[in-house]
Homo-oligomer: 556 residues x 2
Amino acid sequence: MADSELPTRPKPEETPAAAAAEGAETKGPSKSALKKAAKDKAKAEKAAVRAAQEKAQAAAADANDTAKHLYGQMPESEDVLPTTRFTQIGDDQYEKEITVVARVDNARVQSAKLAFLMLRQQGQKIQCVIAAAEPISRQMIKYTGGLNVNSIVQVTGIVKKPQTPIASATLSNHEIHIQKVYMISEAAQQLPMQVKDAEKPPPETSEEGFQTDADGAPIVTLKTRLDNRVLDLQTETSQAITWISHGVTELFAEYMIKSGSRWIFTPKLVGAATEGGSGVFEVKYFKRNAYLAQSPQLYKQMCIAGDMENVFEVAPVFRAEDSNTHRHLTEFTGLDFEKTFHAHYHEVLGFAENLLVFILSQLKERYADKIAIIQKSYPKAGDFKLPKDGKALRLNYMDGVALLKADGVDVSEQERFENDFSTAMEKRLGQIIREKYDTDFYVLDKFPMAVRPFYTKACPQDSRFSNSYDFFMRGEEIMSGAQRINDIKELEASMRAKGLEPNQEGFEDYLNAFRQGCPPHAGGGLGLNRIVMFFLGLPNVRLTSLFPRDPQRLRP
Amino acid sequence: MADSELPTRPKPEETPAAAAAEGAETKGPSKSALKKAAKDKAKAEKAAVRAAQEKAQAAAADANDTAKHLYGQMPESEDVLPTTRFTQIGDDQYEKEITVVARVDNARVQSAKLAFLMLRQQGQKIQCVIAAAEPISRQMIKYTGGLNVNSIVQVTGIVKKPQTPIASATLSNHEIHIQKVYMISEAAQQLPMQVKDAEKPPPETSEEGFQTDADGAPIVTLKTRLDNRVLDLQTETSQAITWISHGVTELFAEYMIKSGSRWIFTPKLVGAATEGGSGVFEVKYFKRNAYLAQSPQLYKQMCIAGDMENVFEVAPVFRAEDSNTHRHLTEFTGLDFEKTFHAHYHEVLGFAENLLVFILSQLKERYADKIAIIQKSYPKAGDFKLPKDGKALRLNYMDGVALLKADGVDVSEQERFENDFSTAMEKRLGQIIREKYDTDFYVLDKFPMAVRPFYTKACPQDSRFSNSYDFFMRGEEIMSGAQRINDIKELEASMRAKGLEPNQEGFEDYLNAFRQGCPPHAGGGLGLNRIVMFFLGLPNVRLTSLFPRDPQRLRP
């Protein structure tokens, strides 16, 4: 029972067939079971009589139904009509007949002669009306107004201009007057939550279930939304967020490919927990153990040693950290790159800065409509500010320390190179830099060697520092990178200085790569989910993952 | 010792520092240890005297060395020279000075006044000559001819036309006359294998170590090559194969993005082994178990239920099958897509056929030079044949059965729907189709329902068959796909018919997605490594993975 520790949630109603199957598992009938069986039989007979009566009534009604071919289950023989997407509906469609396929967002019978249907397509909504007038029957109106919410239907009708704009619809100046309505996929009568209730951002508390907003309307907690992620993905905001995630990935790949970089796939199953055992997931691998890679770091460097010169990867990254915060996931998408340089690691740093400026500015250009949709739900953070001159702002780490110190922050540990910035310091620094430089994206270079991993190249001019950098968005880190040591002796010495033994199991292949000659190189690893989160100013990283994983959550 | 079951391989020579560190771990000195220490001390003293003598001699030589600033360790202050790539060297460079950064493929001293250097850049080779003539000294010639193979050097010199073309070089009509040579990254004197020995395809037997070809030259087994994969990646053939892998991925993403598809990332850590326990890797997930996803199947369908309409994924796929064959990996790259359709699943099938025709024809167009390089090593399979009219050949499964039967193959099991084709049958069918239709790429549609997974939609006209298809290259399957059942009742019935219990743990979230309404959809999953393997006609799928994983191999 892998999921037994997860909080329970409303179970779907059991189907009679499922119940029967369960019953079939008992081995032999007891006395009480026999009594129950007799009772059940009587019940079943009554039900059969009732069903026969209903069928007869329905047949009688059917006989009177002038519209019976215009609604109900989609007929197999129905000619395929070209369908119109909501985004294509404009003023030129008034008085024209169109066919749409969409979800039922809401359905209600107004009277025996009038019903309304709100249809939804990827969050966009349009109202439909059905009124009794030859050949449309009362049965068809009842059927339409009684459709289960979230069912997928095909509607054919005439586009009209409503007398007053329909405030609750996205397409408020268009209305479809229904002629035909067919069921494509019927949703259950009971849904664990309504998609429209998930359109509002979740409350900041993480309490179970539903809460109400100031107007008494229900708002759904993040937990309920993630438990029912398929419904949650149907909201206009979720749809837009998944497009931003798509956009970042596409722009990353586009930029890397244009630079001549090679797309690589490094193994996620690795033989040793080289990056520290605590944060690593262990896997049963036939008769021994394997581990899930925490990053492609060692492997992308081995590709560089393998003369691949310029490589990138888009792949899952696994972190077995028991961190239950708004910004930690145990599985996320890493956008990694590694590149040789000729004379100075700033060749690669400049490349990476341009990469991020490209991604962030193109997001604004290509996805302005999606960003606007998301900002309706999450307006707090405001527009993401990019440097006006199109060049990334680059400061040294110690400049950051000085800015914080001038602001009254205690940076004594940082001045002594004992610790990297805390999250609070980083956020404060983000505010200071925004005020001073008017940008939400910036780079810190030359981190102290003491706070960086063993493979980081020390600064040749001052060995207290290193040729390493972090990228920040709104004061939160989205990338870490550095020049890597490419000399075997220097690398072994650096390992020892960090308390690692080069002869330790798991490092052999990595170190051999340098014994066999390796060009100077640098690179970095971006967190896709963090870029999306901070670009949009979302309150929780889980909103950026289709099916988020954290220490508590392994489903859906 | 995760790697203890792997066969051992030559260990790198231990450095004195490493030996000292090991020594330091013993707790207290024994008598024999003290004796050894005294001996070591004497040895060290002798060595110190010898080193001092050598230093004095070197200083004396240095004093006479007219070229000492022209070679050796790359000087820090050296002005950065623009470097030329081998691919840029043409006839217009004769008599011009260029600077290149490359590997030493071979170095030899011909005489005290002449040495040769073969340089290598991503498999391409050029010969360099150094001759004693002011200011070049004998010391510089000795240094150049004695460079360790595989070291990375920066060479400056004049491009000359050699008197006779240099057969062993890729650039046989160009030669660099060395003026300067600096060390960028020195390789160890002993390498576990020579890159040039790995240029030849591995022998078909998998015996350990080295073998010799008909001319007595060493050929390296696949095992040795994969054990030393970083060196193996440096060969011209490996470089070209990794470019084909890049190309397939890029073309897949390009086509999907152009079609309006959304790039998704579904979880690899899942809560239950829904696809059958035997082929699934188990992961320790905090205090419970998780599993590695065998495919994104259920999740990409949930994205469709989440109204995403058209999605694709590029991600690792994990299979815990103990198959030790030339075509099985435990971790490979999956190229997946899933798409809604309006009237018929052939809308999606046609889309997928065009996708493959696009990928395979564009590979030929964009990567003709890489394909030619690979064919030098692996000529056997010949050019990959695509349908001349640019349209995929589509047959029904039963057409395939008939073709085999006409060829004299026993297909009685297939005629009774008891079994899918065996691998041998598929290969034979590939030959028959190549002869008959002149294509190496084709599609089989309408597989028997009995041989497909539970989520496959039965054929509405004949329920013995299903709306499912496989794609083949050179008679081997590269993609499996189908229309999926999108009706909850039909899905539950199909599960039961396949012996699966819908109430079983792990299916709840998946089935709920259909209870909440889901549009008709179809899709498929491609194996990147198989496409590369069969397109190029490679003998082993491991050649298509940077760092392959199989039941025996977890490293490098």
